[in-house]
């Protein structure tokens, strides 16, 4: 039996999807700003952080309200737990995008351009794709896609390790300043963390659909 307050759960799902889309967009823009060396895009990313934080808080309040007033059980409880965890993951994606944009700006200001070594092209596109797929598997309740996201995250981790090794070796050649290399390591780590948050979301979708612990 559909109850009048079940609409509030649909509204919660919609808000979570919106937050997912916003964080995906800001991550994509941050990565593009890095790949394209686009300072305007960097500023746009920095400006979007508050909107993402506000939406996460809104979702938290809606979850607390639903738990307090609607006595949810079973899948409804799981959806609320997933909303709380996933909204935090999305908020963290926003923070990582913010870090990428800020570091990219520092490097661009100092170096004038980004060398090919620092563009992390493959890893960036992969992390962005993972986040997109993780949101899609939540929207479409697609268990197979969720499991695929978890597997693909290993590739992002491997690329991060590869970048770390490359940047360490670069120290021998001295073509990049220490500050730039250090910031580049942090950028790579932030991209890797975006992949981790996508993986978390995929695990949360599996919990939502199957009820298994995660």
């Amino acid at each position: 039996m559909q109850r009048y307050f079940h609409d509030e759960l649909q509204e919660l799902r919609n808000k979570l999807i919106l937050l997912g889309e916003k964080s995906n967009e800001v991550a994509r823009m941050a990565i593009e700003s890095l790949l394209e060396g686009d300072l305007e895009k960097v500023d746009a990313v920095l400006a979007l952080d508050d909107a993402i934080d506000d939406l996460e808080k809104e979702i938290g309040r809606a979850c607390m309200r639903y738990i307090s007033l609607r006595s949810p059980v079973s899948t409804d409880v799981r959806l609320i737990l997933v909303a709380l965890k996933a909204s935090h993951d999305f908020e963290r994606v926003g923070d990582e995008a913010h870090t990428i944009a800020r570091k990219a700006k520092d490097i661009l200001t100092r170096e004038g351009r980004l060398s090919e070594t620092l563009k992390f092209d493959e890893m960036s596109r992969l992390a962005s794709q993972l986040l997109h797929d993780a949101i899609t598997c939540f929207v479409e309740e697609d268990l197979e896609k969720a499991e695929a996201v978890i597997q693909m995250d290993h590739q992002v981790d491997a690329l991060n390790n590869h970048h770390f090794d490359t940047l360490s070796a670069e120290a021998m050649h001295g073509q990049l300043s220490d500050a730039t290399r250090f910031e580049a390591v942090l950028i790579s780590k932030s991209i890797e963390r975006i992949g981790d948050h996508a993986k978390n979301l995929a695990e949360e979708v599996i919990f939502l659909l199957k009820g298994d612990e995660f």
Binding site: M1, R3, Y4, D7, E8, E11, N14, S68, S71
Partner: protein, 264 residues
């Protein structure tokens, strides 16, 4: 886009019942102490509290049902409905109860047909024309979400209906005389979860046209159903506010203890 409940104002914007410093006693035993609150028009207001806290007594004050009990008295205070002091000696109590209908804990259909249960109040008012009665019976049964279930057996006895249907019939019967306010005293306490859900859905739907005041022991029901909640303890109003506030962040520690089940 789904319909989602908008946030509610801290106090009722359009009060239909105004209670000021209201005291009530059964003989020498005072049951209600200095109650002041406003009940908003076309809102659902829940009265909660442990047994004996005075919530049902308070509810029955709104249509002067307590007048039927010997030795009751109102030491001081007033209740105004739509601006009229209902304890003024000029008030016609029968007329008052037309405006303030009531649904009780146990469904109490008349031992008559489903149709006659609804038409009863109208016939007492002198309405005899069948087409008019037919129209009101259908309207009220639809209003109580019962029409589709009973439209083919209107002449059958109401006593043959299930408990949940009987309770919705009593709500339909209350609607027939077009009250502005409906009082409900534990309307779901004798019903199973499915029948309870149907009555709750009905109450939620009725609030666009009626003001509803409901007494309930079921805190989840108060939380699910009401716009505002009043918590009573030992005859005193401890806290009254938007239901969201009472259940998510009550101001009074007694309210917190009661709604979280830590009471006593």
């Amino acid at each position: 886009m789904n319909e989602v409940t908008p946030p509610i104002s801290p106090t009722p914007e359009k009060p239909i019942i105004e209670i000021r410093n209201f005291n009530f006693a059964y003989g020498s035993t005072q049951a209600l102490f200095d109650i002041s609150m406003d009940i908003g028009e076309k809102e659902v207001t829940a009265l909660i509290g442990p047994s004996g806290c005075g919530k049902s007594t308070f509810l029955r004050c709104f249509n002067r049902m307590n007048d039927l009990i010997d030795n009751t008295r109102i030491p001081s205070g007033e209740i105004k409905i739509s601006g009229v002091d209902i304890y003024n000696r000029d008030v016609d109590v029968i007329e008052l109860r037309k405006h303030v209908g009531m649904v009780f804990q146990k469904s109490n259909p008349f031992p008559k047909s489903i149709y006659d249960n609804i038409a009863y109040g109208l016939r007492i008012q002198g309405i005899k024309r069948k087409s008019q009665l037919d129209s009101v019976v259908e309207e009220c049964l639809r209003g109580a979400a019962l029409w589709d279930e009973v439209k083919d057996r209107l002449s059958e006895s109401a006593l043959g209906m299930s408990g949940g249907q009987q309770q919705r019939l009593c709500i339909a019967r209350a609607l027939a005389v077009k009250p502005e306010i409906i009082l409900m005293d534990e309307p779901c306490s004798a019903l199973d979860p499915v029948a309870t859900a149907k009555v709750e859905e009905l109450i939620h739907g009725l609030k666009k046209d009626y003001t509803i005041v409901i007494v309930t022991h079921n805190m989840q029901q108060a939380a699910r159903l009401s716009d505002r909640t009043a918590f009573f303890y030992l005859g005193k109003l401890i806290e009254y506010g938007p239901t969201e506030q009472i259940f998510m962040n009550p101001e009074n520690p007694k309210t917190e203890a009661y709604v979280s089940g830590r009471f006593g």
